[in-house]
């Protein structure tokens, strides 16, 4: 069977949402930082067992405050990837409130948490972070680490919903 599902990427400004999508969809990484304006839509097909899932990935521009982002971008989403930046602990702080707000808006939304930019930490720092913050995936868009796994997992989750 073939399915099309909308996935949203949320998180504070500069955490690497666009880099994650670019690495996953186009297998590229750009060192230059260009802030996303509004939203950018990309697509990638994932195979989960015998099913084909067309992931419509909405990369939503990060804002300092979650409430500033238009709710209409979230509507119709089946899955959400919440991204934080390992090198900026402040990007983890309002995670609980944001997830709560998303779940109020879309009851059955599946959420995956991703701590990006692990390439900026050494082994010890990464271990400390993992002890303090329990996220689903620790990734590096720059090095292409754990990116495929993140999107495959969200595809699996939305297929079950």
């Amino acid at each position: 069977m073939e399915y099309s599902k909308k996935i949203i990427l949320v998180g504070q400004i500069g955490v690497g949402k666009t880099s994650l999508v670019q690495r996953y969809v186009k297998s590229i990484f750009n060192e230059d930082y260009l802030s996303t304006i509004g939203v950018k839509v990309d697509k990638k097909t994932v195979h989960v067992e015998n099913d084909q899932v067309n992931l419509l990935i909405w990369d939503i521009a990060g804002e300092a405050s979650f409430s500033k982002i238009s709710k209409s971008y979230y509507l119709g989403a089946k899955g959400c990837i919440y991204v934080a930046d390992c090198s900026r602990i402040s990007t983890f702080t309002d995670y609980v409130n944001q997830v709560k707000m998303l779940k109020e808006l879309i009851k059955d939304i599946k959420i995956i948490t991703v701590a990006n930019k692990i390439d900026l930490l050494d082994k010890q720092e990464l271990e400390e972070l993992k002890n303090n913050v329990s996220f689903d995936f620790y990734t590096s868009a720059k090095q292409g680490e754990k990116i495929e796994e993140v999107f495959h997992e969200i595809a699996k989750k939305v297929l079950c919903s």
């Binding site: 099309s4 939203v39 839509v41 419509l56 119709g76 989403a77």
Partner: protein
Amino acid sequence: MVNQDCKALIKKVVAPNLGLILKHYCLSFLSSFRSKKQQIAGKLDLDHFFVIDKQSGISIGGYSDFDKKVDQDLVAGMLTAIKSFSESAFNQNQSQSINTISYSNFNIFMHNSFEHFYLAAVINSSASKYTQKRLKHYFKHVSTHLNKALEGKTTEEIQKNEVEQMLSKYFK
């Protein structure tokens, strides 16, 4: 002198063939009228047509009259994102939202006809007032049929093939 020659020429050539000349002009007028009539009654010069879920921006079905197929999901998603962006940026509600986008030679017309879906048509030419009028007519008819066919169904329950077959009947 010239006047007399002309009169003589008319008397000699035109007068006996007046019937034929009139017939020729009448026929050419009729033929141009017929081709205009066929043009009016003929199919709309349409490149792509999409039925899109308003919230998720996922394509419910589409029709393409263009050799090079486009990725329906990607176009539908981006159109929905642009609509959402304009609605939030200018604090508009859906009824006031963007309904035309012009890009290079392409004109994209959007029509909010359903509670859950909207329609989008792509025309690769300058869209005259006449074309726009015809497009409105198509939007209205397609909406009526789709409303009946999709009533009470969610995006997941809709069969894409079913919608595409219906659209083909309209545009082929």
